[in-house]
């Protein structure tokens, strides 16, 4: 049963969301302030893990929280190597807020007030996308991309002696490119499939993530040999 951690300080909203998640068959846990959320999601390396199973399949995270805000929590999670998918909820729904949330490391973003069916669909979608990102690509446990080996199940990329942790979005983007090796994948398709955003959204997020992948994969990220830009169209991972 997927386990969801809800970080929300507004009691009524937390109770309503909790009720609906439980009806849909999720295990659920609620935290009401930013500092406890960080303690739970991004503990210092020497802090022993708390009782029970600490693993969480999805975090539903409010932005305005006492202690630490949602953006800071996602950042700390990612910095500490926690790549659990995050769905952000916030009263700010402008496109630039959405992009800021995504760039801080969230995987999806839902402005308040939201429709209950949409929230539940996003939750299902994120868990499904995580499962897709984590399934082995091309039927093999390890996927070779240039000089690197990618382990999608554990979201790890091994290059020489160096191991890089991939975020869910990085893994999904890489997987999309791997599955379509040799073909051009358009930016609109990437936005839709990886970010779950309207293909018309104006954002540099895709370019930024491609740059990150290049740093992991290429000998010289400034002169990409593997992950090529097809000007005005999209990106292509070359066949070897």
């Amino acid at each position: 049963m997927p386990r969801i951690l809800l970080v929300e300080d507004e009691e009524h909203l937390a109770a309503g969301i909790r009720f609906n998640l439980e009806l849909d068959g999720y295990e659920e846990e609620t935290i009401a302030d930013g500092l406890s959320a960080v303690e739970r999601l991004a503990p210092a390396p020497d802090v022993p893990v708390r009782d029970g199973d600490p693993s969480v399949d999805l975090v539903v995270l409010d932005v305005m929280l006492p202690g630490l805000d949602g953006f800071q929590i996602v950042e700390r999670m990612r910095a500490s190597g926690n790549y659990t998918p995050v769905l952000m909820l916030t009263a700010k729904g402008l496109p630039e807020d959405v992009v800021q949330g995504l760039e801080a490391g969230a995987d999806d973003y839902l402005p308040k007030p939201f429709d209950l069916p949409v929230l539940l669909a996003r939750v299902r979608g994120l868990i499904r996308r995580r499962d897709w990102a984590r399934a082995p690509a091309e039927g093999a446990a390890l996927t070779r991309v240039g000089g690197a080996e990618v382990d999608f199940t554990n979201l790890e990329l091994q290059k020489g002696s160096e191991t890089v942790r991939l975020t869910l979005l990085e893994a999904m983007l890489l997987k999309l490119l791997v599955e379509r090796r040799g073909q051009v994948v358009t930016k609109a398709e990437i936005l839709e499939k990886v970010w779950n955003l309207n293909p018309d959204t104006e954002t540099r997020a895709v370019d930024n993530f491609v740059m990150r992948l290049r740093r992991h994969l290429e000998e010289d990220a400034g002169h990409p040999r593997l992950l090529q830009t097809v000007r005005g169209v999209g990106y292509r991972l070359v066949e070897e």
Binding site: D9, E10, H12, L13, A15, G16, I17, F19, N20, L23, D33, G34, V63, M64, L65, P66, G67, L68, D69, F71, Q72, V74, E75, A91, K92, Q100, E103, A104, G105, K112, P113, F114, D115, L116, P117
Partner: protein
Amino acid sequence: MPNLSQLSRSRRPKWHYVAVGVGLIIVAVALTVAWQILAAPDSVPSRAVGPARAVVWFFGSLLFLLLIAGLVLIVILLLREVRLNERQSNFVSAVTHELKTPVSSLKLYLDTLEYRELSTDRRAEFYRTMRQDIERLNVTINNVLNAAMYTDRPVADPRPLDLARVARRAIELTVTRHQLPREAIRYEGPDGLRLAGDAQALETALLNLLDNAVKYSKDRVQIEVETWGDADGQAHVRVRDHGIGMSRAHLPFIFTRFYRIGAEVRRSRTGTGLGLFIVRAIVKGHRGTITADSPGPDRGSSFTISVPGLLGPEAEADAEAARA
């Protein structure tokens, strides 16, 4: 990589202008000093000093002083504008949160009622939650409207009222609204404290003070309300709590419109930054004063409203007669 400073990016350029202003003041002061040294009548051999030179020196110095005064004035105004701007953007953020949170909650519960099969008990619980959300919306809307309605102008139609009764009623309402035990708010004061004013407005002021006292209490709510009249014909109400208090640095600003302590995005208490502004406007409308005091963070705070025009029995009859 993510960049949190983007959050405040839009505010930074205004501070650049202030820095430029301060730089210009420094340049002007330096120029003035240079002018004093180079052009002062006694800096050149005495024979060359004619009355014309003294006049030039005098008017030159005057001009420099005016220039500096003008620059200082502009920078002060700019600073005030920048601060107001920041408070306003915090206010928009706070009101957005205060309006959208109950609306989101109402929508969530409506959706749940629509899409789920629910037991009667569960329905009753959800209706209760929704009613509380509507009450919260109502409080925010009233605050915004009151801030526009109560200005510092004197009360238009002062009527005799009993401040002690207004205080007791405000306590009653607060106890019900926050579902507090009766002993959470202690009252001490005379049976009657009569003066002329706007009872509704004074009740709003006291309700705001009591709301704050509850909101900023720690685990246990313990509030003392005291009313008294003095020989100078002033009526006083004091609301004292044992909550989180504040550092002295904040005291001068708390009655300013939109002022809130701390960063908006990680706020632990709800609010719009209008409550105390409204209180001050109402008290000023009664030609009164409001003072705040706190021994420091975590040591509680107290607010005292003082309003002149305490009525004796005769004065009250006169006032009634005058009105009739």
